[in-house]
Symmetry: C2
Subunit: 313 residues, 2 copies
């Protein structure tokens, strides 16, 4: 398309068009420009630039404001600072790379550049802090749905907040909140998804524990499309949760669950428990049944599933 | 005592003694110094300097580290920043005056200079966020005990977190926390106590809602002694809570309670409920019984007590 056509179409000067095209080239867009003929878009960079994510985004709130970083310590840390400063609900912090990405209990989350989706969504739900675990349950369902929508991989949920494929982590969720006794000031949903991570990018000690959509599905997944699907599902489920429809979300969680129906060992802060995982309740607690038929409620811990193929984490 | 005696006693030079005495005078200590005779302490300033609070403090952890301000926006805001930076459990932030003191739901808390005790205690309990309301219950008991110990005023607790005398606020508690789904990163207990606030210091619109130990007891209370008593009780009850002894704390809360046994109206976020307050449960929820005998659980809201003398907040 010629510079003149673009100029007419957008109602801005040809000089402005030229400047924008230079800026797009600097951002990695491959644009062929030929004198007296015009410009041709050859390739879009594999980057989660806000404009790439927002083009095709179907939400009304989630991701309509995106804070983008090429590299950041941790999207959760940035989101907490922004949330404390009053940034609105629905704002999403996205980074191509995290140098200090974290999972639950302060564990490291490997977040190599451009190969995953590392994002944090800021929420301001008018709920009691006691209902906050529902946010993680909802997020797990949204992640599982999005993975199923954009890839050929069938995801499962391991209590409380990991998305697995054949026992290896595809994604993890780290929910954090600032709350008073009866109100949540803000909650942040940190979601790390191993989208296009290559075999080599995983440290040796993680190869048995983590995998990616690329490894399991065999092809690269469009990360922007995954973010669009994820945010769309999050917004839908969040509306449902606030509208009193949590039971349906819990039912969907159960359908994705790898934990329910399995014999598990739960390593908690204070003790280790073993039993048959029979359900989760609406507070997010895992219900175990021990050999005597007694029911135990587990609110925190790490689950090992004892399966037919032996034990995996 | 002569400078020489002090110098011998402490094993420091007389020049150093002289410098320290100048510094004490600048802090408001009235010290009479007579050449060739020595120094005499005439009066200690009415300030919550860490050394005044710590002299006589019986705790092993709480208040052993104090961050003191003459004036600050809000001790909770400072405490949150310090806690996020990793400051240890037991650290206390104290200010003579808060310019932006807050109560629940973002309401203003009047905190005039030198007339109250405005402090925040930083905790790092290994508990589930769902157990966090227990911290507020424990704090209310500690405040009620401390008021009873240092003054002639008999305090009562109004659900969830106000300490009253005859329907007017003596103290309030604002618990805030930063948490993941199953662990608390840190919790802060902000406690504002109207110790020596004079009649004139209360804004007109608060005169029916707030009072002070000075107004009700008729004499000034030593604020440092109150802080010592408060921190001593907090440390004792906190140990009890973490050691599994919450039931006894709840029982003591019930004995101080003004709410239980009263007909109340609770204005919540979404609805208003009316009934007989029959108990609180161990999650901190208020249990109401309506006219049909049905029990309702209230997790958040403002209580108005309908008493024999009419209605008061």
């Amino acid at each position: 398309m010629s510079g003149e056509e673009i100029s007419n179409l957008l109602g801005v000067s040809r000089t402005a068009i030229w400047k924008h095209i230079q800026s797009l080239k600097e951002d990695g867009y491959e644009i062929q420009s030929v004198t007296r003929q015009g410009h041709r878009l050859l390739a879009v960079p594999d980057r989660l630039y806000p404009k790439e994510v927002q083009e095709g985004l179907t939400t009304t709130s989630f991701g309509q404001s995106i804070v983008y970083f090429d590299r950041v310590s941790s999207t959760n840390e940035v989101a907490k600072e922004l949330a404390a400063q009053g940034i609105p609900e629905g704002t999403v912090v996205i980074a191509e790379e995290q140098t200090g990405g974290k999972g639950r209990l302060g564990r490291q989350w490997v977040s190599p550049h451009g190969q995953g989706v590392w994002l944090t969504l800021i929420l301001r739900p008018q709920i009691s802090p006691m209902d906050a675990p529902k946010l993680t349950i909802m997020a797990a369902v949204a992640v599982a749905r999005a993975i199923a929508q954009v890839s050929s991989v069938t995801p499962g949920i391991k209590w409380p907040n990991d998305i697995l494929y054949q026992g290896r982590k595809l994604a993890g969720i780290l929910t954090e909140m600032s709350a008073e006794m009866d109100t949540v000031n803000y909650a942040i949903l940190g979601i790390g998804t191993n989208v296009n991570i290559s075999e080599e990018a995983f440290p040796e000690e993680l190869k048995n524990q983590a995998t990616s959509l690329l490894k399991e599905g065999g092809t690269k997944v469009n990360r922007a499309k995954y973010v669009q699907s994820l945010l769309g599902n999050l917004e839908e489920l969040y509306g449902q949760l606030l509208g009193g429809g949590f039971d349906a979300i819990l039912a969907e969680w159960r359908r994705f669950s790898l934990t329910i129906g399995a014999r598990v060992v739960v390593t908690g802060l204070k003790q280790t428990m073993e039993g048959l995982a029979v359900d989760i309740d609406e507070t997010g607690a895992l219900i175990l049944e021990d050999t005597t038929g007694q029911k135990l409620k587990v609110v925190a811990g790490d689950v090992s599933i004892r399966g037919a193929q032996g034990q995996y984490a």
